[in-house]
């Protein structure tokens, strides 16, 4: 694959970039951030904020880096006096009508107007005598408030709704400095992906009702994770404050979700903070569940595994690849039926991005389960569970009827997160960690293996399900190399599971790899 490369010099740094690349992206590759507001890599560029004006040698005037394509031999100055003065001018113009309400603004701390003003704005105002433009706050829809006074008219939100969501409900209304973002009053931001306008807004003009005044962003811990809402596997950042998850935001991955997540995924975090957790292993003694320590719990589990016979493994498709893999490995001596449960919902595509939707399959790791040999015939597995020697239930909520069928199994082990009275006959109830409390991998619908990291501490004595499986395995058949981390658990699977070969946490990075890609590359076969 040969691509025409063009050499440009940006602030003295040479880079080679493909022909047609815009200066702003070429500068990124040189490690130079050209300050900008209206430009966004996932939106068309209108070049209206005029913040990214740069000096290009031999050009008669400053050029907007976001819409100027590189030319061979171009010499660009981002840090020159002329470019800096232009930016200082834009910042001053933006600030004359921008309220200085940073102390009560949710964007404060992740505000591009704040950042660039600190970086290179004027220290004082020359606009002190006049009142600033005022418009009252407006309700823009299910999760979005519009604070017009803070708006800098970059139009990212308008372009997102027009060009990406394909539902043009926003517009620029009025002209001159009276302009503001208008909304179709009959169609608020009800599009299933509309919440992205909050992230796209470079200032605190479009804000989330859900996050309103919840936390100062500099107090947040940010953790790379994967959305658990569906099989798309959107990359997200989990923001926690004092061990409490306070919001989810999209994390850029150009191959999966670009810069977006759907509103369903965005709001799908409150369960991570639930208080009704199983905090200690419970073993059944004389008809009652008694809290115990892990040694006793694992002994009980190992005892049941040693008996062998017929086993049914009923798992959530929200369990990590590591957990699903090691649990299945633990039960390998059984006549085993292993299935995962994949709830279904409405599909909601984002029109402007190919292959991006809130998927019908509402589970993040259905494909990981398939890779590991899990079935999906839930009904049949439930029936089989009725006369199994051992049923292991991993973090699924059963219906009353299903629980009644399982009640006739010889032995039941529950690995769960939430307290439940559904299976009182369970020999063992082991507390496991939720996605937010462990690290692991999911495999999305395009077989992309993606890592998620631990965002908060585990509830009580909860441990990852893979750990429970690994430790139990060590009791059943003592061997060297019991995995102590999810990375080691993944390495163990990579040795045996077709598709995961050649992959490791290091090679996956934070944007993932396609299952089978490394094996194909190693075999020298074209993929």
């Amino acid at each position: 694959m040969s691509q025409d490369l063009v050499n440009v010099t940006i602030d003295g740094l040479q880079v080679s970039v493909p022909k047609g690349t815009m200066l702003i992206e070429a500068a990124k590759q040189a490690g130079v951030l050209v300050p900008h507001y209206c430009y966004h890599p996932s939106l068309p560029s209108p070049a209206v904020c005029r913040m990214c004006l740069v000096e290009v040698e031999k050009a008669p005037k400053l050029l907007p880096a976001c819409v100027t394509a590189v030319a061979d031999g171009q010499v660009v100055h981002v840090d020159s006096p002329a470019a800096k003065k232009a930016r200082e001018g834009v910042l001053e113009f933006l600030l004359i009508n921008h309220p200085l309400d940073c102390p009560i603004c949710d964007q404060s701390g992740e505000c591009e107007l704040q950042d660039y003003t600190f970086q290179e704005g004027r220290p004082g105002t020359r606009y002190s005598e006049y009142a600033k433009r005022y418009n009252p706050v407006e309700d823009f829809g299910p999760d979005v408030l519009y604070v017009p006074n803070r708006c800098i008219l970059c139009t990212r939100c308008v372009r997102f709704m027009d060009d990406v969501a394909g539902t043009p409900v926003l517009c620029v209304a009025e002209r001159g400095d009276r302009a503001f973002i208008g909304i179709d009053p009959d169609h608020l931001l009800e599009h299933p992906w509309a919440g992205n306008v909050v992230d796209l807004c470079p200032v605190g003009s479009l804000i989330s009702k859900d996050f309103l005044h919840k936390a100062r962003v500099w107090d947040l811990d940010k953790t790379a994770s994967i959305c658990t809402g569906c099989s798309q596997g959107c990359n997200v950042t989990v923001d926690t404050r004092d061990n409490t998850v306070v919001r989810l935001r999209p994390r850029a991955n150009l191959d999966v979700n670009r810069h977006f997540i759907c509103d369903t995924g965005r709001m799908n975090y409150r369960w991570m903070n639930r208080g009704d957790r199983i905090e200690a292993p419970l073993v059944r003694e004389a008809g009652r569940h008694l809290a115990t320590d892990w040694d006793a719990a694992l002994d009980r589990f190992a005892g049941l595994v040693r008996k062998g016979g017929k086993a049914v493994l009923l798992a959530s498709a929200g369990a990590s690849t590591e957990s699903l893999g090691l649990l299945k490995g633990l039960l390998r001596e059984f006549d085993l039926t292993a299935v995962v449960q994949v709830p279904a919902g409405e599909e909601a595509p984002l029109r402007g991005v190919p292959n991006l939707a809130l998927r019908r399959e509402r589970a993040p790791n259905g494909d990981g389960a398939a890779l590991l040999g899990y079935g999906s015939d839930w009904e049949r597995a439930i029936q089989a569970a009725g006369h199994a020697d051992l049923v292991v239930v991993v973090n699924v909520e059963l219906t009353g009827a299903e629980a009644a069928v399982i009640a006739s199994a010889r032995a039941v082990v529950v690995l769960g997160t939430i307290e439940s009275q559904q299976l009182p006959q369970a020999e063992l109830v082991a507390p496991i960690t939720s996605v937010a409390e462990e690290s692991g991998t999911f495999v999305n619908r395009d077989r992309r293996v993606q890592r998620y990291l631990q965002a908060r501490t585990a509830a009580g004595m909860a441990r990852p399900a893979w750990w429970v499986a690994a430790e139990t395995q060590a009791l059943v058949a003592p061997a060297a190399g019991v995995p102590a981390t999810s990375a080691q658990a993944f390495d163990l699977l990579a040795e045996t599971v077709p598709g995961l070969g050649g992959l490791s946490y290091a090679t996956l990075g934070l944007t993932g790899r396609i299952a089978g890609a490394a094996e194909a590359a190693a075999a020298g076969a074209p993929r």
């Binding site: 209206v48 834009v90 001053e92 113009f93 005598e129 800098i152 008219l153 620029v172």
Partner: protein
Amino acid sequence: MGYPHPSHPGETVVLSKYFGDAAARSFEGWVKRGGYEALKRALAMTPDAIVEEVKNSGLRGRGGAGFPTGLKWSFMPKGDGKPHYLVCNADESEPGTFKDREIMRWTPHGLLEGCAIAAYAIGAERCYIYIRGEFTEPLRVMTGAVEEAYAAGALGPNVFGSGRRIDVVIHRGAGAYICGEETAMMNSIEGKRGNPRIKPPFPAQAGLFGVPTTINNVETLSAVPHIINRGAAWYKGLCLGNPKSTGTKLISVCGHVQRPGNYEVTMGTPMKGLIFEMCGGMRPGRTLKAVIPGGSSVPIMNAEEVDRCLLDYEGVIACGSMLGSAGMIVMDDSTDLVYQIMRLTKFYAHESCAQCTQCREGTAWTSRILERILAGQGKPEDMQLLLDLADNMTGKTICVLSDSCAAPVVSGIQKFRGEFEAYLQGRRSPAMAGV
């Protein structure tokens, strides 16, 4: 001029010959006066020959930029398989300019003929005439003329039996000044908000509805039939100054002259002669103070510059301004220039499309500072602030509206500094405050 006064002997009457002649408005009346001969002649020529003829005539865009018309037409791709469009810019909104209005009122068929020739020359089958929304009479006249032309076979699927299709669609603007900017006009015709587009791509590559488009001013297109009829050499010969500026130019003179109106003069005519002879000079007892020669968007000239200025593209630039659309605003010594400049900046603040930061915020801020100065609350540093804002607003935006707001401010401070200082030092009492 022709209307409302008879033409002055100093004028060169080409486009304005039939101004005031109501009978020239009808198709029949126009044909009687030699109309549509040029179109028939053009249809017998190749498009390339027409472009060449217009190139040789030296005709330049009359809307303000003065770009050579034939060269602009030659940018249209050939054999690209796409439809081409011609857009006639009749959104004459530049303060001080009222020449296109008169052309459309009196000689609508002259414009249609020019549109048809230009459309043929650039390979377009459709021409949009974008008429300013406030122009109710020109709209009525033009609409009637288009109907007549269709009925007479001068427009439609088979223009004068040539087998060529040329359609003309009249699109009425809705009152935004910025829609006179050619790319904003294309957005407006497409039904979008009238915001200027980034160039490149230029209209000749991707214009209206994404296909090659040429945009020409009413006066430019109206001159084309005369060039076809009388030849490029004749048109080129109409030149009293720089040979790069040829033909006649309609100058809309308004303000403090005895006889305001449209004057058609040969390129290179002295500005002094226009103002003091043709227009009858100042009111009794008054002297000339300043002229804005090219519609409100150009720098202000002082009396000394007016005195030596020749009216062509280069001549006005040599005297510190631009010919622009040739909407000439003449101001005598009774004028408060600070107030006039404030009014101009308020206009631009009102009409800014709000896309670019500098323009959206800068135009409004500039007018607020000037209002404050007029109210007697100016500060010594205000003049420097105005100049600094003007610098930040010049050459940094998508279109030139922001530059247009800065131009009168900068030239006003440079050339009439004393008037600003009089306010700032309290020597002049607060006038017109809050107007």
